[in-house]
Amino acid sequence: MNRRSLPVRWGRFLASGVVGIAVWHFMAVSVVRNPLFLPTPVAVLVSAIETIRSGELFSDFKISLTYFAVGSALGFAGGVVLGVLLGASQKIADYIDPWVSAAYTAPLVALTPLLIIWFGIGLWSKTIIIALLVVFPVTIGTVAGIRSTDRSLLEVATSMGAGRLDVLRKVMVPWALSFILSGARIGVGRGVIGIFVAELFGGASKGVGLMITNAASVFNTPLLFVGIIVLAVMGVAVTGGLRYLERRMAPWRTQSIV
């Protein structure tokens, strides 16, 4: 990895953003030339300012953020617990592994209508679909971390007289932390998709996902873009926060795992 100073790297991020928006503008104005298909960045910005002024964006965002926060927290906690169990015990892993693999690859969003029948159209059905999308990447990351624990560290602990629980708490879980956070980063991406799907099928009355759906149905393309960008920015912010956390909590690892 390039170890240039931060200002240089921030400069690159900025340049990438500027060029990206310029290309977008060029495409909209010179190639597509139909604001219904592709609005200009300026049109999207104007639309964003409008929805922010009306207070609509904020109230929608608050709802979506609540679903996302509760769902992700549930998924993360569940993933860590499940991952630790699977990583620590081969016996449990033999029983549960196939189910985790199946659930990770299965299109769980398809369960949304069913979850709404089970849990109603309120907060729970939406948070549960998000939690289901987050839980398995975290589980898989945790298991990978626990199982990759350095053998010599395990031997140090064992030879000092550490019991199974101490080995787990004081060696395996701290070792696995980076892997857990990597799993969480993948989970966050899936969770953002979960917001949209949950609100789309979930009979939501508010939310960014619903805003996107409504905008699409009336061909308000700029507003559709505003919704997507809001969700993307949220995803990037959370992912960046997790990356920061990983660097702070595992400074001995020179590079992120994912």
Binding site: D150, S152, L153, E155, V156, A157, T158, S159, M160, G161, A162, G163, D166, K170, V171, P174, W175, L177, M249, A250, P251, W252
Partner: protein, 269 residues
């Protein structure tokens, strides 16, 4: 009561698929008096490390017994502590946290553990680095932490498995002096595995020479030099004579392809 270490007919064999068991150690017997520093040298793959692993409970014995002060060691034993080869520190723990590990898992009271830890951090010369993480330390400093971590649990016998093998020569020699200083203060029984004869002679009261696999103790050589030994002692003719004699025996051991039982050249110990 004396806490002599006694190894009696120690044998270790690993099962193999498609062949008979692989005998790694065969009837290894020796005694180490309480407070003595004994080095274990031998060709690579002779099972030196396996001897230590048996004592620390990481390797099951196939035969024989190990006892400290007459009481046998079975499995992980609180009376021994091991200094592992480099990079076996917990990277998420500070110097203090690493040294405290054994005390934590043995459920020492926090205040008592903190006092022991501080004492040891100072003993190994890391005062001022208490809050540093392993990745911020040099190789030599990491081995100081490693040593302090093992000493913290106050073992009867300290096992050291090539602790300086990954250090450069200058650091290595200064760490040998440091180890001698610390050992003279704490007077632990030490069993030190190395493949460097010079290191063994400089540090130890006795050098045990092991044979090729299956490993067994071929020679037991006393090192008569007074302590504390200094770098100057490395350059005396007596020192060289002892190192050369051992090197010759080790060379004979390496050349001795498969004909176990052939006598090694006599050593004037």
């Amino acid at each position: 009561m004396s806490m002599d270490l006694r190894v009696d007919g120690l044998g270790v064999a690993f099962p193999r698929t498609g062949a008979g068991p692989l005998t790694v150690l065969d009837r290894v017997s020796f005694e180490v008096q309480q407070g003595q520093f004994v080095a274990l040298v031998g060709p690579s793959g002779c099972g030196k490390t396996t001897v230590l692993r048996c004592m620390s409970g990481l390797q099951a014995l196939s035969a024989g017994r190990i006892a400290i002060g007459g009481r046998p060691i079975a499995g992980v034993d609180r009376r021994v502590a091991m200094v592992f080869q480099s990079d076996s520190l917990f990277p998420w723990r500070t110097v203090t946290g690493n040294v405290a590990f054994g005390l934590e898992v043995r459920r020492y009271a926090a205040a008592r553990a903190a006092a022991i830890v501080q004492d040891l951090v100072e003993l190994v010369g890391l005062a001022g680095f208490e809050r540093a993480y392993p990745h911020q330390l040099s190789g030599g400093m990491r081995q100081r932490v490693n040593l302090a971590r093992a000493l913290a649990v106050d073992p009867e016998v300290l096992l050291m498995d090539e602790p300086f093998s990954s250090l450069d020569m200058l650091t290595r020699e200064s760490m040998q002096l440091e180890l001698q200083r610390i050992w003279l203060q704490r007077k632990k029984t030490v069993l030190f595995v190395t493949h460097q004869i010079e290191e063994a002679v400089f540090l130890a009261d006795r050098v045990l020479l092991m044979s090729r696999r299956p490993g067994t103790v071929r020679a037991d050589v006393a090192v008569p030099f007074a302590r504390p030994r200094s770098t100057r002692d490395r350059h005396t003719p007596e020192f060289h004579a002892l190192v050369d004699g051992l090197a010759e025996s080790l060379g004979a051991e390496l050349a001795d392809q498969g004909s176990a039982g052939k006598p090694v050249p006599a050593l004037n110990a």
